[in-house]
């Protein structure tokens, strides 16, 4: 079993399952804050998936997307928290 297959059949599936697990939390909530952190985690895992995918497809340009994700994903979370704090009726 070479490394490529290892990535394909072990690493990526684990990441995929992780995404699904996090998504279950997103569905369950129960509060918006739970959903927000689930979203944040999905994005982080996504960066991981992109990284592995970059390795697998030998396309280093795809890493640029990961940079943007890493840099600005938290803005969404901040925005959510900023206004969750302001409104109490959701």
């Amino acid at each position: 079993m070479n490394l490529a297959a290892y990535f394909d059949y072990f690493i990526l599936p684990i990441l995929a399952v992780s995404v699904i697990l996090v998504f279950i939390r997103l569905v369950k909530g129960p509060r918006v804050v739970d959903r927000v952190i689930a979203l944040d985690l999905i994005i982080t895992i996504g960066i991981g998936i992109i990284t592995v995918f970059t390795i697998r497809s030998h396309q280093k340009v795809l890493l640029d997307v990961a940079i943007i994700l890493a840099l600005i994903a938290f803005l969404g979370t901040i925005a959510f928290s900023y206004y969750i704090e302001k409104q109490n009726n959701d």
Partner: protein, 141 residues
């Protein structure tokens, strides 16, 4: 209600994001990126600043209204679109300097065009967000 942690982080995130946005702008012709994404990232930098320090302080940081960036950006890109007309060429024709410049590569009208796009995007996003944010503030009072 502002978070000191966020404020502090913004101090170094703002320059990083701006630098990164410029990086995206300049190398857009060769790698993923370009004026749009660059502009969006740059505006996100200021949005972050406004989250941390309040919209008024970001406005102060910018000195001018972001709205004024729009005509400037549009002017630049419109000029680079119609500049070839002066040479009797169809609009939007790429005009290039002969020699490449280090770091950026070939310099041509498309880079100016992208710069215009970059400025417009910043102007637009900031105008939209700040207008809303200031309105939210004034609603409260």
């Amino acid at each position: 209600m502002r978070s000191p942690i966020l404020q502090a982080a913004t101090k170094y995130l703002l320059p990083i994001l701006l630098l990164f946005s410029f990086f995206l702008l300049l190398r857009g012709h060769y790698y993923p990126g370009g004026g749009f994404v660059g502009g969006l990232v740059a505006s996100i930098a200021f949005v972050l600043h406004s989250f941390a320090n309040g919209t008024e302080s970001t406005m102060k940081l910018l000195k001018h209204k972001p709205l004024s960036l729009i005509p400037i950006g549009l002017g630049i890109s419109a000029t680079s679109v119609s500049l070839p007309l002066l040479f009797g060429l169809p609009p939007m024709t790429g005009l290039w300097f002969d020699e490449p410049i280090p770091v950026i590569g070939m310099i041509g009208s498309s880079l100016f065009f992208d710069l215009g796009v970059y400025l417009v995007v910043i102007g637009v996003v900031l105008t939209i967000l700040f207008t809303i944010a200031l309105d939210n503030l004034s609603d409260k009072t």
